[in-house]
């Protein structure tokens, strides 16, 4: 059972004690409003923090410390959750029963987190310049590397095109230009502001009680000088006039067709479960309409699927196809959407979609990572349902409700990435 503890104003610890696992996970996220002017800084900070602290001044000594803690892992955590961007650290470590007699891991891990978060290597009023410059280069490289994964690139280009006036159009990790402009002193000033005013969302799942976790973390938060500022609530998609079809050319073997749709139904809406069932039935998994028709019957693609960004009310469909099949594929996608709107939904399709969603929710509690993924983001995204309540809502969805949800879905923008010189 998930418990929620308030450690201080704006500092929430969620989690559960579960002895079934070999490892524990612990994540700390500082929550910011997604803003163009700070997205890059928020993305850069955890990478710089993981370069060194006073006690462990470089990568090698940090890794050696993690090795001593039985191969514990620690990584940067930067998420987009609706209109918010989170920045922080996430770690995983074995439960004490696998350590040598008398060794405990939680307390030293909490201590290491404290050292990394509060005692970074500094130069004057800023972070260590060499760390900042090197991580800026790495972040710029990884932003530029987005185009290496054509599917991810095409999906991101679609969202950037359709969300010009919405926070969803702001790149999650900032832009190369914004990263290049960061200097160690202003980055430190921004980080101090984050520590002071941002809501903090902590999640733990593992073998120790939540009160012990709170106790292990208390030195970290007692060190922080806090003046917490509330965040604005999540907002639905904000429309802006845009191109109905945007085409880009690249040296690729396979074209990508991405279509962006909007719906007023978000995860705060009473028809949310029906919308989720629609998305699953339409484009998720192997029994969905898109896979069964566009791939299996018509052989137009290998990969096709839809996604529902529930905090915003955006549905996307992406398919990897031959350029020559663009119009045919697009027409099929729209025809299958129309079938949903018209209620041409079989009982089998409805039940399969509901079962698929319910199975996914049932397994949330089977892995510490899945629990973190659900509970550390659900409340922030505006979703007020536990997996159990969510399952009940899905169970109650009818074919008429799915058709009604599909009826709200409207095509907004189409993005097409194709081979250079293709038709």
């Amino acid at each position: 059972m998930i418990q929620t503890l308030s450690l201080a104003p704006g500092i929430t610890l969620r989690g559960c004690t579960d002895g079934r696992f070999k490892q524990s996970v612990l994540s700390i996220q500082f929550v910011r409003t997604m803003r163009r002017e700070e997205a890059a800084q928020n993305a850069l900070i955890p990478a710089v923090l993981l370069r060194g602290c006073r006690a462990y001044p470089d990568l090698r000594t940090i890794t050696a410390r993690l090795d001593d803690l039985y191969g514990a892992g620690i990584s940067a955590l930067v998420r987009r959750i609706g209109d918010y961007q989170t920045t922080g650290l996430s770690c995983a470590f074995i439960n004490d029963r696998f350590a040598m007699a008398g060794d405990t891991i939680l307390e030293p891990m909490a201590k290491l987190l404290q050292q990394l978060l509060l005692e970074p290597v500094c130069q004057g009023d800023g972070f260590c310049e060499a760390f900042v410059e090197s991580e800026k280069k790495n972040l710029i490289c990884s932003l530029e590397a987005e185009r290496n994964d054509k599917r991810a690139y095409a999906g991101a280009q679609l969202l950037r095109t359709m969300c010009r006036e919405d926070s969803f159009g702001i790149p999650r990790l900032g832009t190369p230009e914004a990263v290049a402009a960061i200097d160690p002193v202003s980055l430190m000033a921004h980080y101090r502001k984050i520590l002071k005013e941002s809501p903090v969302e902590i999640f733990y799942a593992g073998g120790t009680s939540l009160s012990q976790v709170a106790q292990a973390l208390s030195p970290l938060f007692s060190e922080m000088d806090r003046c917490y500022v509330n965040l604005p609530v999540q907002t639905p998609f904000r429309d802006a006039p845009t191109q109905a079809l945007r085409t880009e050319e690249m040296e690729v073997a396979q074209a990508k067709l991405c279509m962006g749709f909007v719906t007023p139904i978000t995860n705060r809406h009473e028809d949310f479960a029906a919308m989720q069932v629609f998305n699953t039935l339409f484009g998720s998994g192997q029994s969905c309409k898109l896979f069964q028709t566009v791939r299996e019957k018509l052989s137009l693609c290998y990969s096709i699927g839809s996604g529902y960004y529930s905090s915003k009310g955006i549905v996307t469909v992406c398919a990897g196809i031959d350029s020559r099949d663009m119009e045919k594929t697009r027409d099929q996608i729209l025809r299958l959407l129309q079938d949903c709107r018209d209620g041409r939904i079989t009982q089998e399709e409805l039940e399969a979609a509901k079962l698929s969603l319910i199975s996914g929710l049932q397994t949330v509690h089977d892995s510490p990572g899945a629990m973190e993924g659900y509970y550390a983001t659900a409340a922030l995204s505006g979703l007020a349902l536990s997996p159990e309540a969510y399952m009940q809502a899905v169970e109650a969805v009818t074919a008429q409700a799915v058709a009604a949800a599909a009826g709200t879905v409207q095509l907004h923008t189409t993005y097409f990435l194709k081979e250079v010189g293709s038709c």
Binding site: R20, K22, Q23, A47, D58, L59, R60, T63, A64, L66, D67, D68, L69, Y70, G71, A72, G73, I94, R97, F98, A130, S134, K137, N138, C141, S142, E144, A145, R147, N148, K150, R151, M250, E251, V252, A253, Q254, G285, Q286, S287, Q292, E296, S299, C301, Y302, S303, G320, D322, E348, E351, A352, L355, S356, I358, S359, Q362, T363, D366, S367, G369
Partner: protein, 421 residues
């Protein structure tokens, strides 16, 4: 037979059925999901085999094509039936293994029955085989645009002269056009006999009921299975020292590969894998002197990494990532291997590395997917995966030093680089 592994706080039920199928069940009381892998030790490199006394050569990519086509049964829509049970089904083909898996939160025995049934039933209507060509062509296109796939495939072609790992798992757009219902049936007969397969299950299930389902679907008879064969003699040295390619990417990406010799047996393979992973950690892992130095110089970033890999009876050490100067990284890795092979590794650092590697493997047991996969993959090599802590106990610093010494032979290294257009 149920074996307890106190160091891992887990158990394993193991049984070999009359038809030769190995069954492994890792009980997970209190968990909702159950995962089952049904796997054969047949992958893309096994394109030559002997069946009924005759040697057969089959087209590149057929193991993967067969994996796609097995999802059909004469009178049943497999995907729809499993979806109706709330089960998630999928499969993958590697160089030396094909696995089909089903993830359930209920109706496990019925889902298992369907999994066993569709994998063991060869049904390849001509029309359906033709239709699959279009789908796999698109999958080949998707891989052609992936720098990670291309840099690895190019490395294999540089390292190996004869070994069929030179050919992509998916085959090529040309080679898959030689695939027919007849040669699909032949491959199925050769490699999908229960005696060639493993079923591993992670979850809260009743072993007796599992065995009963298997007996009902697969029967108790064994048939003649295919015998893998390979005519080639693969040289010790790499075929070519380097491969250079260009793609629509943002910065150069590279892989270095060291060609290990042929592995004598599975025991050697597992031991070598542990030694190879520890040697990789000492040489270029995040706690190594080299990693810090290359990272500080900006020659590597967080994408850099690697380890020891086994494909069939071949093994290799592979590492790489993105870099503006792959050759400088290559030179530094070789120089450091020479240095470490002379100085050896400090005892404290060695023990720390072992503790860390062991801890990471234990944490990995929380993943149903990884556990099911490893149980299968190691069982196909007749090795009990859950005894890995004992392998770590046995490995010495000298083993690692000897491994590093082998890495100083430059003729067994290749580098594959992809540069931006």
């Amino acid at each position: 037979m149920l074996t307890a592994y106190p160091r891992l706080d887990t158990t394993l039920y193991r049984h070999r059925l009359e038809n030769g199928l190995q069954v492994l069940i890792n009980p997970r009381p209190g968990f909702t999901k159950t995962l089952a892998y049904f796997a054969t030790g047949y992958g893309s490199v096994h394109n030559q085999f002997i069946l009924d006394g005759q040697t057969h050569s089959v087209p590149a990519g057929i193991a993967h094509f067969l994996e796609h086509k097995l999802f059909e049964l004469p009178d049943t829509d497999v995907t729809a039936r499993l979806s109706a049970l709330g089960a998630h089904v999928n499969a993958f083909t590697s160089y030396d293994m094909t696995a089909y898996y089903v993830l359930c939160t209920g109706h496990f025995y019925e889902s298992l029955r369907l999994l066993l049934e569709f994998v063991s039933t060869p049904y390849f209507p001509e029309e359906s085989v033709k239709r699959e060509l279009g789908i796999i062509d698109q999958e080949i296109g998707m891989h052609a645009d992936s720098p990670d796939s291309r840099v690895f495939e190019n490395l294999m072609q540089a390292m190996y002269q004869k070994f069929p790992i030179r050919q992509p798992i998916l085959g090529t757009s040309d080679s898959i056009r030689d695939i027919t219902p007849e040669n699909l049936t032949l491959c199925h007969r050769a490699f999908y006999d229960p005696s060639n397969m493993v079923l591993s299950i992670v979850g809260d299930v009743d072993p007796e009921q599992v065995l009963s389902v298997i007996r009902k679907v697969l029967g108790s008879e064994t048939r003649t299975a295919g015998e893998k064969c390979r005519e080639e003699t693969e040289p010790v040295s790499c075929f070519q020292p380097r491969s250079l390619d260009k793609m629509e990417i943002s910065m150069p990406t590279f892989l270095l590969g060291f060609k290990w010799g042929r592995l004598a047996n599975s025991q050697e393979s597992i031991r070598l894998e542990v030694i190879g992973d520890l040697a990789s950690e000492a040489l270029f892992g995040e706690s190594s002197e080299l990693y810090l130095s290359l990272y500080d110089q900006g020659l590597i970033d967080g994408s850099f990494g690697g380890g020891f890999e086994v494909a069939d009876d071949r093994a290799m050490l592979v590492c790489g990532g993105d870099s503006d100067d792959p050759q400088a990284v290559f030179d530094a890795v070789l120089t450091q291997a020479e240095k470490l092979s002379q100085t050896g590794i400090d005892e404290t650092a060695f023990l720390r590395m072992k503790r860390s590697a062991l801890g990471r493997r234990i944490r990995d047991l929380d993943s149903f997917d990884s556990t099911c996969f490893r149980l299968c993959a190691y069982a196909l090599s007749d090795f009990d995966y859950f005894t890995f802590p004992e392998i770590y106990d046995q490995v010495t610093r000298e083993d690692v030093r000897q491994f590093l010494l082998a890495l100083t032979d430059r003729s067994r290294w290749s580098i594959s680089v992809i540069e931006p257009l």
